[in-house]
């Protein structure tokens, strides 16, 4: 948060209402508005809706998985389809739900936060969104192919994904390419916008943390999405064009696939959590009515997490057989990440300390994030310890870990962000009662869902199995019940969002929340279609 942000009054404040009307008649209506839009707010909305739909689709697949695992024995799907469900669930949640949701938030918020009229490259912005639905249509349609869709896990380890997969692999590769192109274009847009479009006076160290974390995330995306594209291309050529990147017979090495994949994969994990740090760093100060503690150290911590993410990849593959020296290196490097991550958690707690706290819905989600993400972080620290990782690796302990950081971490932060900025977008307060129901149902069910996974994992249940030994039966029943409850709880959110889109609810002030600070809270609510056409001056 910058010390003193003030807009150029000429533009938005005094004339806001007039400005709004002035542009309203330029907005095309109907389908073509959405197809052809280059407006960052429209595209942000499209991304968020797309992410939400994908969240429900991926969630439906999780329901299939949990229904199958409700009790031991083969229940409703065969093992092949089960593998396709875990694979596509992972791909959809990572590339279809979490990443587009963050891109949607970036589209809505980054220009408003830095005082820019729009994203730097509006037409590319339109493209990077509209190719995304096709990527997922291709992926989902592969499930209906003869023999089914990809069943080799979202990590598509060779040679399972090369010599031993069916032809849906080609569709999978094509769809990942499109997702990658979309993400790269989105990331380039964010970087260019932040570097070139800031309002006068909006120096780097005055940028809100959400902008900072997204800038770093975008650089990570630009660095690693091409590596993913390379990896899937090698899978494709190994399968269809006779190359031997991952085939020992031709001088290749299947373990090399894992090195390349995780060189992409670990930064990818931070791509899904750094923007969340930015969101929490915006919400906690607002409802503590106190400035964010340690702004500079937050920026440094984010940057160091991003840099460290490039040298820890092999902690995903300790069991592949590495020399002791390599195992030690990756263990120590991984443990180091907990230092900057710890700094962030401490800073949030210090921001709350001696503040003047209220607990509106965004703050409830933010606090849940801090606690549950930290639990995920601590189990991550345990996983870093190589000798013990041999026991944890590929068990439900890992599943518990990454769902704590991705569901109660990334997804909760996205929900917190939606509740925080939704009134600014619609101009109306959302249905608070429904929101509280959504929060409490989600919070309780998500823990019933994921906490027992720690126990079954430690007790020895491998991940990605369609059936399990009898000693895991009790916990799995609870996990499934938690899963169904969590899935249903999201329908409350759906109803709430539909109500908000219909502009139901009490009108809100420009500032919306008592303690909110930043450029986006100085423009009218709802945010006009065009904002900051004349840049504000940030003092």
């Amino acid at each position: 948060m910058s010390t003193e942000t003030a807009t150029n009054t000429q533009d938005t404040h005094a004339d806001g209402q007039h400005h709004d009307e002035h542009h309203e008649h330029h907005i095309p209506t109907g389908l073509s508005r959405w197809l052809l839009t280059t407006n960052h707010k429209d595209i942000g909305t499209l991304y968020l809706w797309f992410a939400f739909i994908m969240f429900l689709v991926g969630g439906a697949m999780a329901m299939v998985i949990r229904a199958e695992l409700f009790q031991p024995g083969q229940q409703i799907v065969n093992p092949e389809f089960f593998n396709q469900m875990t694979t596509v669930h992972g791909l959809i949640m990572v590339f279809g739900a979490v990443m587009p949701a963050f891109t949607g938030l970036a589209n809505w918020l980054v220009p408003m936060m830095i005082g820019a009229p729009d994203m730097a490259l509006p037409r590319m912005n339109n493209w990077s969104f509209w190719i995304l639905p096709f990527a997922f249509l291709i992926l989902l349609s592969s499930l209906f192919m003869e023999g089914g869709g990809p069943g080799f896990g979202w990590t598509f380890y060779a040679p399972l994904s090369t010599q031993y997969s069916n032809d849906s692999t080609a569709l999978f590769v094509f769809s990942v390419h499109i997702m990658g192109i979309s993400s790269i274009m989105g990331a380039i847009n964010v970087v260019v916008t932040i570097l070139n479009m800031r309002a006068p006076g909006m120096t780097y160290m005055k940028m809100p943390l959400f902008v900072w974390t997204w800038l770093i995330t975008a650089f990570l995306l630009i660095a690693v999405m091409p590596v993913l594209a390379g990896a899937v291309t090698m899978v494709l050529t190994d399968k269809y064009f006779g190359t031997s990147f991952f085939d020992a017979a031709g001088g290749g090495d299947p373990v090399m696939f894992q090195h390349i994949f995780w060189f992409f994969g670990h930064p990818e994990v931070y791509i899904m959590i750094l923007p969340a740090f930015g969101i929490i760093s915006a919400i906690v100060p607002t409802f503590s009515r106190k400035k964010l503690f340690g702004y500079a150290s937050m920026v440094y911590a984010t940057a160091s997490i991003a840099l460290l993410s490039f040298i820890v990849w092999a902690h995903h593959m300790f069991t592949t057989g590495m020399p002791v020296a390599a195992e030690m290196f990756f263990m120590f490097a991984t443990m180091l990440i907990s230092v900057p991550t710890g700094v962030k958690v401490f800073n949030w707690v210090a921001t709350m300390w001696r503040g003047s706290l209220t607990f509106e819905v965004p703050m409830m989600f933010a606090i849940a994030f801090i606690v549950l993400f930290t639990i995920g972080g601590l189990s991550g620290l345990m996983l870093a310890i190589t000798p013990v990782d041999f026991q944890y690796h590929d068990t439900y302990f890992v599943v518990a870990h990454f769902h704590y950081v991705l569901v109660t971490g990334a997804v909760f932060s996205i929900m917190a962000a939606v509740y925080y900025w939704l009134p600014k977008w619609t101009g109306k307060m959302f249905d608070v009662t429904l929101a509280k129901w959504h929060f409490w149902c989600s919070l309780i069910s998500v823990n019933v869902l994921f906490f027992p996974m720690h126990f079954v994992g430690l007790a020895g249940m491998p991940r990605r199995i369609p059936d399990y030994a009898l000693q895991f039966a009790d916990f799995n029943k609870w996990i499934s019940i938690g899963g169904f409850a969590f899935g249903l709880s999201q329908l409350i959110f759906l109803v709430l969002i539909i109500k908000a889109c219909k502009k139901q609810g009490e009108p809100v002030s420009d500032q919306v929340w008592e303690g909110a600070e930043g450029l986006e809270w100085e423009i009218p609510s709802p945010a006009p279609y065009h904002t900051f056409e004349t840049p504000p001056v940030v003092k």
Binding site: A120, A199, I216, M234, G242, M256, F263, L307, A326
Partner: protein, 220 residues
């Protein structure tokens, strides 16, 4: 504009640029901003292409990395030249041989000696027996793997059947020799290591070359 250039330069160092206090001038025209944006896009597109290239460069880099660290236990696919190193008689290393045929490879494949004990620096020769019991000609490729992986760096093979494709006509058998010595630099904590060969049927992959290879095999 000067201040603006300053910003651009600082942007190069991404995370390093936090200290900047430069201010974007408020009077930039749309054209100026667009031109600036295009410059940045070009730089970023360059990074994207570079990283795509890097992902493929990872393939040879991985081999280099393996040669340095022994990460995957692969021995060199080039013949080593025996350097007259001093034989370290104070140490005896047990070298075990494991022979496997990959799924679907019908050859018989056995090591004549299951293990040898050697002093580091000493040349030894072992042989492997192969027989193609089928009614078709097959070309094989042997893939070596050493465990612990670090030991792979210290196995110097001056001659190995794994350096070439190995063709065998239907019903033929052969003895395939392998000469090697263990580098005396072998870390002290390694006293035993395993060398595995897996035979793959690569006839399908090298089909056009089969006839040539068979002719050569006959000549021997």
């Amino acid at each position: 504009m000067t201040e603006n250039n300053n910003t651009q330069h600082q942007q190069q160092g991404l995370e390093g640029s936090e200290a900047t206090n430069s201010v974007n001038p408020s009077h930039k025209t749309r054209e100026q901003i667009a031109a600036e944006n295009m410059r940045t896009v070009k730089k970023l597109a360059f990074v994207v292409v570079g990283m795509l290239g890097f992902s493929f460069a990872l393939v040879p880099l991985y081999d280099v990395f393996c040669d340095l660290t022994g990460i995957n236990g692969k021995t060199s696919d080039q013949a080593a030249v025996y350097e007259a190193v001093e034989i370290d008689e104070s140490r005896t290393i047990k070298v075990e041989f494991i022979t496997r045929t990959h799924s679907g490879m019908p050859w018989e494949f056995t090591a004549q000696t299951a293990e040898v004990r050697v002093h580091p620096g000493e040349m030894s020769e072992v042989a492997f027996f192969v027989r193609n019991p089928t009614s078709r000609d097959i070309i094989a490729q042997a893939i070596p793997s050493v465990s612990p992986g670090t030991a792979a760096l210290y196995v110097n093979k001056t001659e190995c059947f794994c350096f070439q494709h190995q063709p065998l006509k239907a019903g033929d058998e052969a003895l395939m020799p392998m000469k090697f010595y263990v580098d005396p630099q072998l870390p002290k904590d390694i006293s035993v290591f395993t060398l595995q060969y897996t035979l793959y049927d690569i006839s399908a992959k090298v089909q056009p070359a089969v006839d040539v290879a068979m002719t050569t095999a006959n000549g021997e």
